[in-house]
């Protein structure tokens, strides 16, 4: 009912504008209509009386599925974890929404929120400075940078998380992104926490040039620390994930999960089409495509995400506590030293 009421003014507008285009109104007015009246610009849309009724319906009461166009009542939509119940489309999530879905209530503690963008290159595009753009984006999106990191409890289990927010410059990876991720790895090691990264990203941040490329090395280097401490890195790839993020830490993981139909790849579909000049096959670069090609462990629907993650954390934790020796060669040398020390003692 509400839905019909909400749309009826628009339908009325369409009718009115059609009426105008036909140009019949002045003519029908008849007698006193001058030529000037005939060519007077008519408002394209006129509002009808039930405008106030429309204002009673908040903008976000209904959500439309971009895939199947199904309209869903927002409350219902949120209850279904922002998955379309008709076609199964997984809506893109803001970092805060993702964290809310994963964390036990009130368990999330953010790390390193005070790190913000700098402008190492002095980058200006068409008169707009990079820093100004970043600040504008931060204000508009309500997120300070492309990633949020912190610790939370998932199903009662403590976990370090790094989650991207696509609304901040396409969650592109620059220095702040890299630094937050590296610090999260180091803290995870200090606190003995498994690491979950949730990635959606357009790739490297152009505005930081080669600094951005080097974040690929920095983030993967930080993951070696996690490995030495026998702490798992679980990577969840979400829609869309491309370029330098897919080609670095996000695919260097003990377990790689992806949400259904998430697009994941190295080069974007437009680039590939331009270069190869052929139509891409249906389903190209989807999570299911990656799964078929043996690139990821699982396509995990959002509804079973917490359950799956909880089980993984359980299974990986405490198998063999303690640090993994860095290198076999180093290990041999060290054990020799210990052995020699023992004989000397006797």
């Amino acid at each position: 009912m509400l839905y019909c009421a909400a749309l009826s003014p628009r339908r009325q507008c369409v009718v009115n504008s059609l009426f105008d285009i036909a140009g019949t109104r002045p003519a029908l007015d008849g007698t006193g209509a001058s030529m000037r009246e005939l060519f007077r610009r008519q408002p394209k849309f006129t509002t009808t009386g039930d405008d106030d009724l429309r204002s009673l319906v908040p903008d976000d009461l209904w959500v439309k599925c971009p895939k199947c166009n199904e309209l869903v009542y927002t409350k219902e939509h949120m209850r279904s974890l922002r998955v379309c119940q008709r076609c199964g489309y997984h809506f893109r999530l803001a970092a805060s929404e993702r964290i809310e879905m994963l964390a036990d209530e009130g368990s999330f503690v953010e790390w390193d929120a005070e790190i913000t963008t700098s402008d190492p290159l002095g980058f200006v595009v068409d008169g707009e400075e990079y820093l100004v753009k970043a600040q504008k984006t931060a204000t508009r999106s309500g997120v300070g940078e492309a990633v949020i990191s912190g610790r939370l409890k998932l199903d009662g289990k403590p976990l370090a998380v790094v989650v991207t927010d696509f609304s901040f410059m396409g969650a592109s990876m620059g220095s702040v992104y890299g630094e937050k991720l590296a610090r999260a790895c180091e803290r995870a090691v200090d606190e003995g926490l498994p690491l979950l990264t949730v990635s959606a990203s357009g790739g490297a941040r152009m505005q930081e040039g080669l600094f951005s490329l080097m974040q690929m090395a920095k983030t993967t280097a930080a993951l070696t620390r996690l490995g030495e401490a026998r702490l798992p890195h679980i990577s969840l790839l979400t829609d869309p994930c491309y370029g330098g993020v897919t080609a670095s830490y996000a695919t260097v993981a003990d377990v790689i999960l992806a949400e259904p139909e998430a697009l994941v790849g190295f080069a974007g579909p437009r680039v590939i089409e331009q270069i190869t000049r052929q139509k891409l096959p249906p389903g190209f670069q989807t999570a299911e495509f990656l799964f078929e090609h043996g690139m990821i462990d699982q396509v995990t629907p959002r509804h079973s995400m917490v359950k799956t993650l909880s089980a993984l954390i359980d299974l990986y934790s405490g198998v063999r506590p303690g640090r993994r020796p860095r290198r076999r060669r180093a290990e041999v040398v060290e054990s020799e030293i210990v052995a020699n020390g023992a004989t000397d003692g006797e």
């Binding site: 790190i115 702040v176 080669l210 993967t220 993951l223 830490y249 695919t251 190295f266």
Partner: protein, 291 residues
């Protein structure tokens, strides 16, 4: 966008053109001139042999080293065969195989970077291009051998970094190194790949800029540009590699502790890369943290 010429009168875009010059020496030219013996090793033991990535063992100034590098063609025909120096996943996996082998035998690793980028084709995506690059970057951060990467021409994107995470990164004066090719960057920034020259200037892709940022360790001068006197450039490159190799050896040869010191130094090097602002406990003004 200002593309102001540098001291020697070259704009950033001039440098891009020099880096791509057809007569510029490519990896096999360096290997041929600098190595007394060289045996090329082929194949990734899984999918095939990628001609855009070459590698093998050789003797460099008296010691056995592992060499890996992108290879462009010397002619159009060869360029097609070598995919213009754009490796596919099998190329990166071949490189990874050679990294591991170098580590196993305790050989230093030397890489030559010269690629517009990793191959962006359909089959590369199917075979996990991003995964292959990530695996190499990850492996290189943790290889227990000294490594030196030299950007001899184009250092394009993740396709370059996949053999570029080394203890020392050297760069020829007229080489470029960028997060994406100037054309791709322009397409992303302005939706117009025709503004590549502007992108090259804005992204600071030149060796002297990158040295000032601390992202590369040394710039090897080209007097004159490499394509005019390849031999001089190659010898200067060899001398620089040798110098750094001796330095790294000092650290590395001290057994297990040396190995650890080498890995710690490499970790610290890449860990420190980046620039950001960090508000102090008392906010404003934000401290600009140059790391």
């Amino acid at each position: 966008m200002a593309s102001s010429p540098s001291a020697n009168g070259l704009t950033p875009w001039d440098r891009v053109l020099l880096a791509r010059h057809a007569n510029r020496p490519h990896t096999l030219a360096y290997i041929g001139a600098l190595y007394d013996e060289f045996v090329e090793l082929h194949g990734d033991r899984s999918d095939g042999d990628d001609a855009a990535m070459v590698g093998g063992i050789g003797r460099f100034r008296g010691r056995t080293v592992m060499v890996v590098g992108h290879q462009k063609g010397e002619s159009t025909r060869e360029n097609i065969q070598r995919n213009f120096g754009m490796p596919k996943p099998e190329g990166y996996r071949k490189a990874l195989r050679l990294f591991r082998q170098a580590e196993k035998f305790g050989m230093p690793l030397i890489t030559f970077i010269d690629t517009p980028g990793a191959d962006p084709g359909l089959s590369s995506e199917e075979n996990g291009q991003a995964f292959a690059i990530a695996a190499n970057v990850f492996a290189m951060t943790d290889l227990a051998i000294p490594s030196i990467a030299v950007v001899i021409g184009e250092g394009g994107s993740g396709g370059a970094l996949a053999i570029g995470v080394a203890d020392r990164v050297l760069m020829l004066e007229n080489a470029i190194y960028s997060v994406a090719s100037p054309e791709a960057s322009a397409a992303i920034i302005w939706k117009d790949s025709g503004r590549a020259a502007d992108a090259a200037a804005a992204m600071r892709v030149n060796a002297d800029d990158l040295l000032s940022f601390g992202l590369v360790d040394e710039v090897i001068p080209e007097n004159p540009p490499a394509h005019e006197d390849p031999q001089a450039t190659i010898v200067a490159t060899g001398d620089a590699i040798e110098r750094h190799l001796i330095e790294l050896d000092e650290m590395w040869k001290r057994g297990a502790t040396g190995e650890r010191a080498l890995l710690e130094a490499r970790y610290a090097k890449y860990r420190a890369m980046g620039e950001w602002q960090e508000a102090q406990a008392v906010p404003t003004p934000a401290a600009i943290g140059r790391r």
